[in-house]
Amino acid sequence: MKKIDFHTLGPLIALIALIVLGTLLNSAFLAPANITNVLARSAFIGLIAVGMTFVITAGGLDLSVGSMAAFLAGLAIIAMNALAPSLGVHWGTILIGMGVAILGGLAAGYLNGALITKARIEPFIVTLGTMGIFRSLITWLADGGTLSLDSGLRTLYRPVYYGGIGWLTWPILCFAAVAIAGEWSMRHSRFGRHVEAIGSNDRVARYSAIDVNRVRLMTYVLLGMLVGLAVVLYVPRLGSASGSTGVLWELEAIAAVIIGGTALKGGRGRVWGTVMGVLILSLIDNILNLANLVSPYLNGAIQGVIIVLAVVLQREKHAASER
C-alpha cells in the first residue's frame, strides 16, 4: 500500500473516465443516493470477484459462482423458512440462515477445490459441471419457480442490505473490508505469496516446499465462502432465489478480475484492480440507465465497446511503461 501499483493505474484511469462521462450525462450521477446504489449493488460481484482474484492468480478458474450463489440463497431461505415456525421471527433464525449460506459456500468451494486438486480435473470442466449441478438444484428446490423468504423475516433482515452507517450501507462496508483484507493478504501474507507462486509456476512452488494442492484448494474454499457472504447480503435485497438468480455472475466476476489487470494465466494478482474492474462494470450499467442513449437493444454493444476500451487504455499505459 505504500508503493503505487502501476498496473492498477490503468483501470483507475478508465474508472475516472467513466465517472466524468456519467457526471456530464446527468447531474444526479454524483448524488449520494446514486453513489450508494451503485456501490451497494457492486458488492455481490465485488465480494465474489475478490475471491476469484485468488483463484485466477493461482492459475485456476471458477465458472460455478453464479449458480452457487443461487443455490446457497435457496438453501439459506429454505433453512430460515423452516426454522421460522419454531424459532420465530427472530435474529437467531437469520443468523442461522447466514451460517447456512457461508458454511454451504465453504462446502461448495471445497467440492470444487477437491475435484480439481485431488481428482486432478481441469478447473474449467469441474466448475462447468458444478455450475450445471448448482443451477439444477436450485431450480429443483424452487420447483421451477421462486423461493421466497417468510415476509416477517424479510422485514427484519432487510436492513442488512439497506441499512448501515449513513450512506455507507452494510454491503458497501462489507465489500470495502473484504477488498482491503484481500489486498492485504495478496501482498503481505504467506498465503498470497504462495498463491502467486503457484500461478506463476507450480513446479517451482512444489520444489519450494509449498503445499500446492492445499493452497489451491484454499483459494476455492475462500471463494466459496465469499460467495456465501455475497448471498448473506443478497437475500435481504430481493428476499428470494430462483433458477435465474446469479445468472452470468461468473462471467462478470471473471471479467472484473481481468479488467483489473490480473492475468488469466495466473501468477499476478491485483485485488485493487479487481475492485476497479467491478466498479467499472457497475458504472457502465448505471450510465446506460442515466441517459437514453440509443435503442436498448444496443446496450450490450456499448457495454462491450466500453469494456474493450477500458482495457485498451490500461494496456497502452502498461506497454508504455514497459519500454
Binding site: N37, G144, N286
Partner: protein
Amino acid sequence: QEAEKKIIGVAIPSATHGFMGGLNWHAQDTIKRLGAAYPNLEFVLSTAGNSAKQVNDIEDMMATRNIDALVVLPFESEPLTAPIKAVKEAGKFVTVVDRGLSEEGIEDLYVAGDNTAFGRVAGEYFKANLKPGAKIVVLRGIPTTLDNERVEAFQKALDGSQIEILDMQHGNWNRDDAFNVMQDYLSKYPQIDAVWAADDDMAIGVMEAIAAAKRQDEMWVIGGAGMKDIVKRIMDGDKQLPVDVTYPPALISSALEMTALHFVSNAPMTGRFIIGSQLITPENAAKFYYPDSPF
C-alpha cells in the same frame, strides 16, 4: 398549453425469446407513438436479463431520472415486490404488467394476460379434439412460476379425459431447443397424436422436427402467444396447426397507454385489466394478424 413535464419509467425484461421480443417491440413502438402525441411525456426504457438488474434499473430511475410513474413487467414477482413497493411509497404512479406482485394492493394499475387461462384454453381444446387414450407430448418453457401455472392449468383441464401425457421437457421458449427435444420425442415415441408446444417459437421448432421425420400426418401442434407467422398459417387453414392460444405481447401497449392517459387526461386510470387468452381459429384469425410486428 405548456403542460408540466412528466417522466414515465418503463422496466421490462430483455428480448431473450420470441414473446419478450414482441413485447419489447410493442413497448418501443408505443413509446415512440405516445412521445410524439404527448410532448410533455418523457419515457425512460430499460431492459433487464434478471431480477437483480431490473431492481438496479428501477433504483436508477428513482435516483437519477426522477420518474413520476413506473410501468414494470416484473422479471419475477417476489424479488420485485419490495422495490416496486418502495416506488409506490415515494408517491409515484405504478403500473404492473403481466406478472402480479406477491403483495396485493401496491400497484395503481394492473394489466395482465391470464396464464391459467392460457393453459386451460389449450387443455380444453386437446380434451375436445382428441379421443380417449390419445397420447401427447408437452414442451415446457424456461422454468418459472408462470410456466408452472400454465402447465398446471393445462393438466387440470385434461383431468378425466384419458389423454396420456407421455413426456414434458423444457424447450426454454426457444426454437432450437424445442427442435432438439421434439426430435428426441419422435425417436422415443412411436405414437404421438398431438403436441402442446406452449409457445409459438417452440411450435416452429417442433413442426420442423416433425416435418424432418415425415410424421406431419400423425399429429397436430398447438403453440401459444399469437405470433404472426403462426396466425397466418391458421388463417391459411394449416391442418397441422389447427388453432393457437393468445397471450398478446401487445398488452404492454395497453399498459403504457393507460398510464399515459393518467397524466394527460382526467379520467381515472386505476384498476385491474385482465386480457384473457382466446382461441385463434381459422375463422377469427384475421383479427389477430399484425403483419408489421416483428413477432
